[in-house]
Chain length 120, copies 2
DNA sequence: CTACGACCTCACGTTGACGTCAGAGGCAAG
DNA sequence: CTTGCCTCTGACGTCAACGTGAGGTCGTAG
């Protein structure tokens, strides 16, 4: 498939896909005229990249990680890196839960008729 | 207290505190010579701001939200905004959990001696 | 008085993940 | 053959939350 097809299938912009290739995250073959061609597997590849971006990983980190995924092997350094990222995500989840609860408190505090303030 | 004191108490940079003021998030009185002065309450204010930033809210959103917190009242629009942000955070938490599990899968898949690959 | 750190106001620099525009070529339909 | 959409390669623009200097003031300890 061509880049536009991959873009619409993944809902990722053409520009982003070219950027992924530039960052070494997404490979493509080229047609005779130089147009990028992708296998069906590229769809899942892009989804994985999106998930990792969504988790807050940088292009550089993802670029270091994907070869491990492809080869299904990891070096001690990459394992350490992965575990560190997982821990960071866990911390971020915990912070988000706190922030969400805080936001709920705010919603509650500002939505109620707020009697303790009305009558003081 | 002066800005440096507030900065060290909150572990937020002086530059950031001035930026918060610039964005309308943090008020200060001024000494005769123009230096910023803060009440003790500013510490909690900064912590709240940090939490909201941590939750992914923008300066603009926080600026719209803080007056509601102060007045302990909310308009229908702000309530809607707050609920939307909470939902966004919930979505983000869910995505992070998925990403974390994905990362754990990768760690497992690349850490194991990987028999099903070694022997195929 | 003088040194020295904390503070002030501009105002430009940084970073990542793209958006966007320019100018040129590619490709199936009519 | 030409219309019209897709694709290509640069290359500059964007946006947020600050970082980082420049150049000057404040305040207090010695």
């Amino acid at each position: 498939m061509r880049i536009g097809d991959l873009a619409s299938m993944t809902r990722v912009s053409v520009r982003a896909l070219r950027y992924y290739e530039e960052q070494g995250l997404l490979a493509s073959t080229r047609s005779e005229s130089g147009q990028r061609l992708y296998e069906n597997a590229a769809v899942n590849r892009v989804r994985l990249i999106q998930q990792l971006y969504g988790a807050g990983l940088s292009s550089k980190t993802i670029a270091e990680l994907l070869p491990c995924v492809d080869a299904k092997v990891s070096t001690p350094e990459s394992r350490e890196r992965l575990a560190a990222e997982r821990d960071r995500i866990n911390t971020q989840i915990a912070e988000l839960i706190i922030a969400r609860d805080r936001l709920n408190d705010i919603i509650d505090a500002t939505s109620r008729p707020n009697p303790e303030c009305d009558y003081v």
